[in-house]
């Protein structure tokens, strides 16, 4: 319950869904990630991640319009659920917390090292 499980790739995917807001569908998400993070995303990995997120209840999906370029197949649009938002917030909070716990001297030491 309290335990929001979110893998690294899953986190990227759910964040991208958030960015695309309302118009997030698989190819769009893939393009967005590839554009922003300049890494290639395989269709398999993306679909698996989307399925997992939906299973966990962080995303919900609905069928969209079918277009000619998709050979008549519908798009599947994703949006973040309330639980998903909590999970994102939780992930961010825990990271922030960890970040803030790192002593400042670490960075200074690094600078000194240079």
């Amino acid at each position: 319950m309290k335990d929001f499980q979110l893998g690294e790739f899953e986190e990227i995917v759910i964040l991208t869904v958030g960015i695309l807001n309302q118009s997030a569908y698989s190819v769009g998400i893939k393009d967005e990630i590839e554009l922003r993070l300049s890494r290639t995303v395989s269709m398999g990995a993306l679909h698996t991640a989307l399925n997992r997120l939906e299973e966990k209840g962080y995303l919900k999906s609905h069928s969209g319009e079918s277009t000619e370029e998709r050979a008549g197949r519908p798009r599947r649009y994703f949006e973040i659920t309330a639980l998903g938002k909590k999970a994102m917030q939780h992930a961010k909070d825990t990271r922030d917390e960890l970040w803030s716990a790192i002593p400042k001297t670490l960075w200074q030491a690094n600078l000194a090292g240079i």
Binding site: S26, V27, S42, M43, H47, N51, E69, R70, A71, P74
Partner: protein
């Protein structure tokens, strides 16, 4: 449009469609197409194709592949778990019923297991020998006029004839003498052991397991093989090889090999010495006559010899030309059949021990069936208790198949429990069973086949005992059951009653059979034998010393008052040998009758205590009577002589005069008619026969005898046999059948009564209210008891009336094999009916009386 021309590789698209989860298929395919379309525009079809293929392959991963079936993986494992749990809880809820069920079934299974072990032991007889499937014993068929008799004793020249005439068919042959008692002497140790003369092929033929020495060493005529047990008894831990031992105090031999003792389920069990055939002391090796049948012959068929029946047909005429009087043929009897098919008819193997295998196999199956019937009866009897459960299960969607599975699972739980229990019972009962069946069986804990068979056995038992309740219970109609209008009809009891009748029919038949077997044995034992076997002792003349000192020993024994009479004869009165070479005046030349011929000293008659009915006994001076013969009454009847005294007869080429006639005496089979017997005073005598002094105590007499015999026969241990003991062994087969039948009968009736007990308690419980009302209205306890018990007694009486004709028919057939047999009187059957009814009443009464005594207030107050 241009775009339409570009389509991704069809194979991979199909592959994708095949593996993809249908829920996602459309979306992902859309994605693939969209991306492909874009790529074609950007970088051309070839590249787009490759990337498409890569995408399809990368999509082939767990989250996306569809499950093997279109629906979620729904195995029924959970249901099975629930079935077993419910089954277990039902067992615990009714501990009494469960105990009867499991206990009865365990008993039945234990019996089936014991019988299975017994059958396995019998069927695997002689499989100890590696080449058992190619080994055969040569049997002799002698046909005189109409009848063919088959015997295992052949004439020695046969071996050489077979060896030289059919070298391609027989790989090895070995003549074997009959087992005989030998005295083995090494330094100051003396030991009696059974030995056989065997030819040099024997060790290889029967693949002896040599503990030391080689199988070839028996070629030397002065070498001997001893069994491990003899080696241990004589030499202890020392190496026996090349040690000189003396046999029967006349034969010096060298130990050339030690073989592992033959196991109990082999033909050669108890043969502990193997002596080389070619030794001078073996009288048979110089025997060249075709008519002197004196030993056994075993052959090992060569690989290419093929079918033993065909070969038997091919070689059967070998001895025929050498025998004039009767037609003699040989028969190759496979070793694998030797033990189980030991009876012959018209020169062919016709049953024998195999019948017992069938008999006991059937009995085992029946006893197990009885136990299964208990389970069926109790389950269906309690069906009303579970009717609601069935109704609810059906109402919430169980199909009939699932309910059947459920009830089968429950019976499987019972069968498994019973199985574990029965393994323990079998383990504990095996020593007793071994003693009873004269076997050395063990439970093969380590054999996977054994466990596989047991598993199948449990499954079958579970299914057999569970099938009827499963089909019966699962057929309930949920509406009537849940409305409460459901009543088990009058006819619901019918199958249950039929099953009870089957149980008791089987049990009662077994009991009658056991009683008749014992009656037959008793009948034969009480047969008037014509002489007393009590205190009659035989000692084999096993060394030349004893033969030489016979007169001295006799004097000393008589003087010491140990024996009343003492004589010598050729055989023990428990079994005489026979011969058919007798001629008398007026004999039909076609007639061929075997006469028992016995050589005796003149004191034999007194020792045995025979009655001379006509003429006189032998004169004390045996030389004067060397040409005299005494016949028994049966012999005279067969010979048809009017005035037998003084008539001359010819036997073995010598003339004798009949001087006396004795009363008939039973010496051979206790079941056979009296056989014609003749007594001579000349010829070989190998047995000392003594009548113990009736006034002296037997143990003291035996001690004194031991001292005297050892004094004059120092090189052999003193060994004696009581004639009545030896004679009693003739009842062994019938006694073991009787004991086993009685054992199974008791078990069968016990299991049946367990079931009846369960049924009675169920009926009493079901009718509590009725009994309460009846009591309130004034029924007496006796009334109630009678009312409840009547039904069961009726069933048992029906069983009796079915089983009596069956038992009568079977036992009548069984008795046919005996000439001297008991009659099946009506008293036996009456006693059995009476016993069965009494046992039934006792079983049922515990429950019915309890029910009749219970306070009606208690059963009626709650509604």
């Amino acid at each position: 449009m241009k775009k339409e021309a570009a389509s991704p590789p069809g194979v991979f698209l199909l592959f994708f469609r095949w593996y993809c989860h249908p829920r996602m298929r459309d979306y992902i395919e859309g994605d693939l197409m969209e991306v492909y379309d874009r790529r074609v525009k950007e970088s051309g079809k070839r590249k787009a194709d490759w990337k498409f293929i890569l995408d399809v392959l990368l999509l082939f991963r767990p989250g996306i592949i569809r499950p093997r079936r279109p629906y979620q993986d729904l195995n029924t494992y959970g249901m099975y778990k629930s079935y077993f749990k419910i089954g277990w809880r039902n067992l615990l809820r009714d501990k009494g019923f469960s105990l009867i069920n499991v206990g009865g079934l365990a008993m039945g299974m234990a019996v089936a297991m014991l019988i299975g072990l017994w059958i396995w032991d019998e069927v695997s007889f002689d499989s100890y020998f590696e080449d058992h499937d190619r080994l055969a014993k040569v049997m002799l068929n002698q046909t005189d006029q109409t009848e063919t008799s088959t015997d295992g004793t052949i004439a020695t020249p046969l071996e050489d004839a077979l060896r030289t005439l059919y070298p391609d068919d027989f790989e090895r042959l070995s003549l074997i003498s009959w087992n005989s008692d030998r005295v083995v002497i090494f330094e100051d140790k003396k030991l009696s052991a059974q030995g056989r003369w065997v030819q040099r092929d024997f060790p290889e033929m029967f693949t002896l397991t040599m503990l030391s020495g080689s199988r070839q060493a028996l070629k030397d005529p002065s070498s001997v093989f001893i069994s491990a047990s003899v080696a241990k008894a004589i030499f202890g831990e020392a190496d026996p090889i090349n040690q000189a031992i003396r046999i029967d105090n006349e034969l010096d031999m060298t130990v050339a090999g030690v073989f592992e003792d033959f196991p109990k389920n082999t033909t050669f069990y108890s043969t502990n010495l193997l002596l080389p055939w070619d030794n001078q002391a073996n009288r048979n090796n110089r025997q060249t006559s075709w008519s002197n049948h004196s030993c056994e012959l075993f052959v090992l068929l060569s690989e290419k010899a093929g079918d033993v029946t065909a070969l038997s047909e091919k070689v059967k005429n070998v001895p025929t030309p050498h025998i004039t009087k009767i037609k003699e043929e040989i028969l190759l009897h496979p070793l694998d059949k030797l033990h189980l098919y030991d009876e012959f008819e018209n020169g062919k193997a016709a049953g024998g021990r195999i019948e017992f295998i069938w008999l006991f196999g059937t009995i085992g199956a029946f006893v197990l069936l009885l136990a299964c019937i208990n389970f069926m009866n109790l389950s269906t009897a309690r069906s009303e208790k579970r009717a609601k459960e069935v109704g609810i299960r059906k109402a919430i969607g169980s199909i009939r198949q699932q309910l059947i599975t459920q009830f089968l699972c429950e019976s499987m739980v019972v069968a498994l429990l019973a199985f574990v229990l029965s393994l323990c019972v079998t383990r504990l009962a095996l020593p007793f069973f071994n003693a009873m069946a004269e076997k050395q069986m063990q439970i093969p804990w380590n054999s996977p086949e054994f466990w596989g068979m047991l598993l199948g056995f449990v499954l079958i038992t579970g299914i057999v005992s569970g099938s009827y309740p499963a089909f019966y219970l699962s057929a309930f109609k949920p509406i009537s059951v849940l409305k409460g209008t459901f009543r088990v009809g009058r006819f619901a009891q019918l199958p249950r009653n039929v099953l009870v009748v089957i149980q008791f029919t089987v049990s009662i038949t077994l009991i009658i059979a056991a009683i008749i077997v014992f009656r037959q044995i008793e009948h034969a034992k009480s047969r008037v034998s014509g002489y007393s076997r009590e205190g009659l002792v035989t000692v084999n003349i096993n060394t030349p010393d004893l033969d030489r000192h016979y007169e001295v020993v006799k004097d000393e024994l008589l003087r010491a008052g140990v024996v009343a009479h003492m004589s010598k004869s050729s055989y023990s009165p428990a079994h005489f040998s026979s011969n058919n070479g007798l001629e008398w005046p007026g004999k039909d030349p076609e007639l061929s009758v075997n006469f028992r011929n016995v050589n005796v000293t003149p004191e034999f008659g007194q020792t045995l205590g025979w009655e001379i009915v006509d003429g006189r006994d032998f004169l004390a001076d045996s030389h004067a009577d060397s040409a005299a013969v005494i016949f028994n009454e049966t012999a005279i009847k067969i010979m048809g002589l009017q005035n037998p005294l003084g008539e001359p007869i010819t036997f073995g080429g010598k003339q004798y005069t009949i001087v006396g006639i004795t009363e008939d005496m039973v010496t051979q089979s206790p079941y056979a008619p009296i056989e014609p017997t003749m007594f001579f005073t000349d010829g070989w005598k190998g047995v000392i026969l003594m009548r113990l002094n009736a006034e002296a105590s037997t143990s003291e007499s035996l001690a004194k005898m031991d001292a005297i015999f050892t004094k004059y026969n120092p090189n052999a241990p003193f060994q004696y046999n009581f004639v009545d003991d030896v004679y009693a062994r003739k009842y062994a087969t019938e006694e073991s059948i009787g004991t086993l039948a009685a054992f199974f009968a008791v078990l069968a009736i016990f299991i049946s009564c367990l079931g009846l007990f369960g049924l009675a308690s169920f009926v009493a419980e079901q009718r509590t209210k009725e009994l309460g009302i009846r009591k309130v209205l004034g029924a007496s306890i006796l009334n109630l008891w009678g009312m409840l018990s009547r039904e069961f007694v009726l069933l048992v009486v029906i069983s009796c009336s079915i089983s009596i004709p069956i038992a009568f028919w079977f036992m009548d057939n069984w008795l046919l094999q005996f000439e001297y047999k008991t009659t099946m009187s009506w008293q036996i059957f009456a006693a059995v009916i009476f016993g069965a009814v009494v046992i039934t009443l006792l079983t049922v009464s515990f429950q019915t009386v309890k029910a009749a005594l219970s306070n009606p207030v208690r059963s009626l107050k709650s509604e």
